[in-house]
């Protein structure tokens, strides 16, 4: 899926959460959006997922403005895993099946695919548990499975490992890399964990105070940042 944002601004009352942000998401690659807390990462992902409308600028998907061209089809090919995932008031397996059901996938396949997705995140034995009783880390893994099971062309991950122990961080990171490799899917992840950005992403975008400060190949950006602000952020001198 080809995703591009042009001159995006998003204003919340008197706060400018995004300020004229424009870039093209490299297709089939993993892109990390890094930046300190409050820099606009979540806001940006939500606009790409069409949950919020930009105040200015536009989103272009596969060369078209999705708002004008029946975005429901486009929406079914992407999914966002939220920073603080909420569970539906149902069992774990019913949560994971949700997206397949609204896509009218064949019932026998729904169960099979959902169970496999749960196994992949290490929750194979939790299918029947009432989802809101999952621990924070389990919720996060379940939310990831709930997105992955849809085999989306575009996956938007918002701090998708924030509540996890190192073992599970490694597990999910591997799932992301494998999925990206095996499916040619495009992945955009927001993180303030620089190590994670380094480990996972091919490309990197640095946001600061709603502005896009720098973008480029991850390796290059980490080894030789151009902007002094990027340099400061990478060396941990910015606390926000």
């Amino acid at each position: 899926m080809k995703v591009e944002v042009k001159g995006l601004s998003k204003r919340f009352e008197d706060r400018l959460a995004l300020d004229d942000v424009g870039f093209q998401v490299p297709e089939g690659k993993i892109t990390a959006i890094v930046g300190p807390s409050g820099s606009g990462k979540t806001t940006l992902l939500r606009i790409i997922n069409m949950l919020d409308r930009p105040t200015k600028g536009k989103l272009v998907i596969n060369g078209k403005d999705p708002a004008k061209n029946g975005h429901s089809q486009v929406l079914k090919k992407m999914v966002m895993v939220f920073q603080n995932p909420v569970m539906f008031n149902r069992s774990v397996i019913a949560n994971v099946s949700y997206g397949l059901k609204v896509r009218r996938v064949d019932k026998t396949k729904v169960k099979d695919r959902s169970e496999k997705a749960l196994e992949r995140v290490g929750l194979g034995d939790r299918a029947g548990q009432y989802a809101p009783t999952l621990s924070a880390g389990e919720s996060q893994r379940m939310a990831f499975a709930r997105g992955l099971v849809l085999e989306p062309e575009l996956m938007l991950l918002d701090e998708f490992t924030a509540n996890l122990d190192p073992g599970n961080v490694a597990l999910l990171e591997k799932l992301v890399m494998d999925y990206n490799k095996d499916s040619d899917s495009t992945i955009v992840l927001a993180t303030h964990n620089l190590y994670q950005a380094k480990r996972l992403s091919h490309h990197c975008i640095f946001l600061f105070d709603g502005k896009l400060i720098e973008k480029g190949r991850t390796k290059k950006m980490f080894s030789s940042p151009k902007d002094p602000l990027t340099k400061k952020f990478l060396s941990g001198e910015i606390a926000w």
Binding site: V79, F82, N84, P85, F88, N89, R90, V102, R103, G128
Partner: protein
């Protein structure tokens, strides 16, 4: 029509009992019929309407909710009066000829319960975690899926709305006595017969009817309490198995 059928069947079934007991049974059956019908109709209107209102955050809908809430306190006799005027021979719906029938009582009760069910449904949907809607949308839900999901997620609150509506329907007097006429064997329900029997000094009879009414109310509150205790279980497992996961 439905009522005529239920009435005939009931009378057939209890034909062996003495007339006073027969009357008690018929009164109870009519009460349950009337409350069930009015709650059903009100729920069919109030739940979707409430969900719709609950999902909107704009000022206009807030105003609408305030209006709904103010109708909670609508005095039943006024509802009765309005429906009476509507259905009386000279009224706009006079030709239907349903005044002094169970149908007119159901109409009056709908006027009273629909705001209640709408209001509680709106709160139930409104108080879901904000991200539930976004999560469903992000997972690919279209508008109809979204409404279904919100209703299902708020099922406990909606169930409460329905039960409270039913509770109000069985215990209401003022409106049904005006539009039903409290006609023996025809439009008498538990509450209105208690009024009549008390006036006549038949306290034992009135107390018996009162006990039946209390019993129904007790069952409703029992079911509600269990439902609220077993938050998260779905309704089916709740009612069939008395709760459980999923």
């Amino acid at each position: 029509m439905i009522w005529e059928l239920i009435r005939e069947v009931t009378l057939q079934l209890i034909s062996g009992l003495d007339p006073e007991t027969q009357r008690v049974v018929l009164i109870t059956v009519l009460t349950l019929y009337m409350a069930t019908m009015s709650t059903t109709v009100s729920s069919l209107i109030g739940i979707p309407l409430g969900a719709f209102i609950g999902m909107r955050k704009s000022q206009l809908f807030l105003l609408f909710r305030v209006f709904t809430h103010s109708l909670y306190g609508l005095p039943p006799v006024i509802a009765g009066l309005l429906v009476y005027m509507l259905l009386s021979r000279a009224g706009p719906l006079g030709p239907l000829g349903i005044l002094f029938t169970p149908t007119s009582m159901i109409v009056a009760q709908c006027l009273l319960i629909t705001p209640l069910i709408t209001g509680i449904s709106a709160s139930a949907v409104d108080s879901l975690p904000k991200n539930i809607e976004d999560t469903a949308r992000s997972l690919g839900a279209n508008r109809i899926d979204l409404i279904k999901t919100m209703l299902y997620e708020a099922r406990l609150g909606l169930f409460t709305a329905v039960m409270l509506g039913f509770g109000r329907a069985i215990s209401e007097v003022g409106a049904v006595i005006i539009v039903g006429g409290n006609i023996k064997w025809h439009t008498q329900v538990l509450t209105t017969s208690i009024v009549l029997e008390t006036q006549r000094g038949n306290f034992n009879y009135a107390l018996t009817l009162g006990a039946i009414l209390m019993l129904i109310a007790l069952i409703i509150s029992l079911v509600l309490t269990i439902a609220q205790k077993k938050k998260g279980s779905n309704l089916r497992s709740l009612l069939i198995k008395g709760g459980g996961k999923g």
